[in-house]
Symmetry: C2
Subunit: 230 residues, 2 copies
DNA sequence: CGCTCGTTTGAGAGGTCTCAATTTGGGTGG
DNA sequence: CCACCCAAATTGAGACCTCTCAAACGAGCG
């Protein structure tokens, strides 16, 4: 592993303040692997064997039921996923697949649980990370129950514009994935973009021009208790 | 506090295995109060001052945005709520109000955080509870994104029937609250019941007769990764 | 007995989905 | 370098689901 990657890993909330020995052993016990795009890393309903850390590339968490499927979360470096299943030694509630070529560190669940009991700082960091995940899930649920599709898209664009610090948003995932993440069909995403036209949104392929941020905000009704990132 | 209530509290996952001194101090520091129905206990956006435990009655967690409101969770004895906000010293993402006359134990957040650092078993128990809450939120999100309203109702009925161990389900909350919890309007809940008619569901006021469990299951498509309780 | 509030029913509008056809854009092989 | 090809994205039509507004119904309470 490259030094800068190690540094990035060390910077994870999950490892904040934990003993050097704990960190080193966890990373040493982990398998760092490259995966091509489209590979399923974990399957819903399987027992949680590894804690996964995305070091490079992008991973999609998704879930299925009754023949339908939906995107639950998009994980970018450096991000952890399926922490809860690992901690309580249960089955995964979500599946995960690579969206791009990706580098993933997989730490044996048993090892995580062992250090948990021995390193109070690690336990503490995990609690923080778990709280964050929980609150993010609550926000996603509110987003889904309290807004229409077009409103979810509008707010997503505002957050993305903020993150990219520009007057336009570059969408670096397939629109079908974005549609699923926002809880709609690809067809509906296209129509949602059309709906946002009068509110200062002009799509040019993957680059979305925001010509009137104020109008978009008026339509979107952003709310820190839904859109806020912690 | 009555002895049986203390026992019930002690049985909470949250307090499993923690030191007697920790438990006693937490309970002693808490305020145990009766509230009439319809009282708002906590407000979204307020800083988290107390960890709440429902000892008696029922409490609804709900959230608002853009003039809309939705029911997020129904907490019965003995249940804890807003744990994540208390742990990370943040604002509440949800509001809470009593649905019935209710008895609630409120433990100062600062006290919870203090013991957290001192009692490893308490920290561990909190991690378990937090994991459970997180997974429940993920399930709720899947339920919302992957099912129609009628399907959510059908699965809710199946779970309730299981819990009540009968061929009929007694709904002990207002139907408008159930509708909001299931992510629909009261009008739509009525229509959802009508939709389930051909699948062995016959409502008689608050008592719902399930005349054909097999047919209802076929319609509902129950899934342990959504409806399972942990 | 009559009021009030929750529930149900009805009608119409808007949102969302499916299926199908067309267009666009990126990648490959000639 | 270009033509082709495939997958993704868009557009269109119609059905279904869900919401709003309005009115009728019914149970509980004064």
């Amino acid at each position: 592993m490259r030094a800068e990657e190690l540094t990035a890993l060390r910077g994870l909330r999950l490892f904040a303040g934990i003993a050097e020995a704990t960190f080193n052993d966890l990373v040493a016990a982990g398998y760092l692997q490259f995966f091509p795009p489209g590979v399923t890393l974990i399957h819903e309903r399987d027992p949680a064997d590894f804690l996964h850390v995305v070091v490079e590339g992008m991973v999609e968490l998704y879930a299925s039921a009754g023949g339908r499927e939906t995107s639950m979360e998009l994980v970018r470096p450096v991000g952890v996923f399926i922490l809860a299943a690992v901690l309580s030694d249960q089955v995964y509630l979500q599946s995960a697949r690579t969206l791009t070529r990706a580098r993933v560190l997989m730490i044996p669940a048993e090892r995580v649980r062992r250090w948990l009991a021995q390193d109070a700082a690690f336990m503490s960091a995990i609690t923080v990370e778990l709280s964050r995940s929980y609150r993010q899930a609550i926000k996603a649920l509110k987003n889904q129950k309290l807004r229409t599709g077009a409103e979810r898209l509008a707010n997503w664009l505002l957050v993305a514009a903020e993150a990219q610090g520009a007057d336009s948003v570059m969408i670096d995932i397939e629109k079908r994935v974005l549609a699923s993440y926002l809880g709609m069909t690809p067809e509906n995403l296209s129509r949602a973009f059309a709906t946002l036209g009068p509110h200062g949104v002009a799509p040019h392929g993957a680059r979305i021009q925001l010509t009137d941020r104020t109008a978009l905000q008026r339509f979107a009704g952003p709310d820190a208790m839904i859109d806020g990132i912690e």
